[in-house]
């Protein structure tokens, strides 16, 4: 298993440009997540998906969009890049939480380092 893979590893964008961050997992996980990591701020949840065709907003969704057409893929779209979106982006996946509150571990990709100038 490759686990969770993300492309690209690095990207520099100009203000106003758009791009898609790719995320693929081969563990047949139902649940997938996008986080951003800013220095000294921990990880913030952008969007998540509990299965193909189902997505929902996390803590910091503004400026981003997602889609989930297959179980394996969960791309993150930036439509109009802004300097505030300079960050490291992590995709994660997990099995469906086993109980009403969920217990399962999230597995993370290697990240995409994005700079918006």
């Amino acid at each position: 298993n490759a686990g969770v893979t993300q492309t690209p590893k690095f990207r520099i964008l100009k203000i106003g440009q758009s791009m898609t961050l790719q995320c693929t997992q081969d563990m047949n996980h139902n649940y997938m997540y996008w986080y951003r990591q800013d220095p000294g701020m921990g990880l913030k949840l952008i969007y998540y998906s509990v299965g193909a065709g189902i997505t929902d907003k996390g803590e910091v969704p503004n400026g981003y969009n997602v889609s989930r057409s297959t179980t394996e893929d969960f791309p993150l779209r930036l439509e109009l890049a802004a300097p505030s979106q300079t960050s490291v982006y992590f995709c994660a996946s997990s099995y469906s939480p086993g109980g009403p509150q969920g217990t399962d571990t999230q597995y993370f990709g290697p990240g995409t380092r994005l700079t918006v100038l």
Binding site: L45, V50, P97, Q101
Partner: protein, 116 residues
């Protein structure tokens, strides 16, 4: 509001000495707690989790964590630190009251520096 706090930005310890990385939490209901480690330019790797049962949880690479309900803490520990343990450590808690979504709240991270 549910939250996780890691009160120390950095912890320094000599190789061979015991280490502790602190985490406190605030949640409604029973907490599901996690520790992750991040090596430079890498994604997060799962270390251990507490769901229920024994308050002392053992995880990967010789790490363990102690759940203390009265102090709302979940400190990460290791009896003898290695230089290779130097990394960024995150504590996280499962979000309650959000349905079956598996969402996590992360602390801001603690950098562990182990010196030879």
């Amino acid at each position: 509001a549910q939250s996780v706090a890691q009160p120390e930005d950095q912890v320094n310890v000599a190789e061979g000495n015991p280490l502790t990385v602190k985490c406190t939490y605030s949640v409604s209901g029973n907490p599901y707690l996690f520790w992750y480690v991040q090596y430079p330019n890498r994604g997060l790797q799962f270390l251990l989790k507490y769901i229920t049962g024994d308050n002392l949880v053992k995880g990967s690479y010789g790490f363990e964590a102690e759940f203390n309900k009265s102090q709302t803490s979940f400190h990460l520990k290791k009896p003898s630190a290695l230089v290779s343990d130097s990394a960024l450590y995150f504590c996280a808690v499962r979000v309650h009251g959000s349905g079956n979504t598996g969402k996590l709240i992360f602390g801001q991270g603690t950098t562990l520096q182990v010196k030879p």
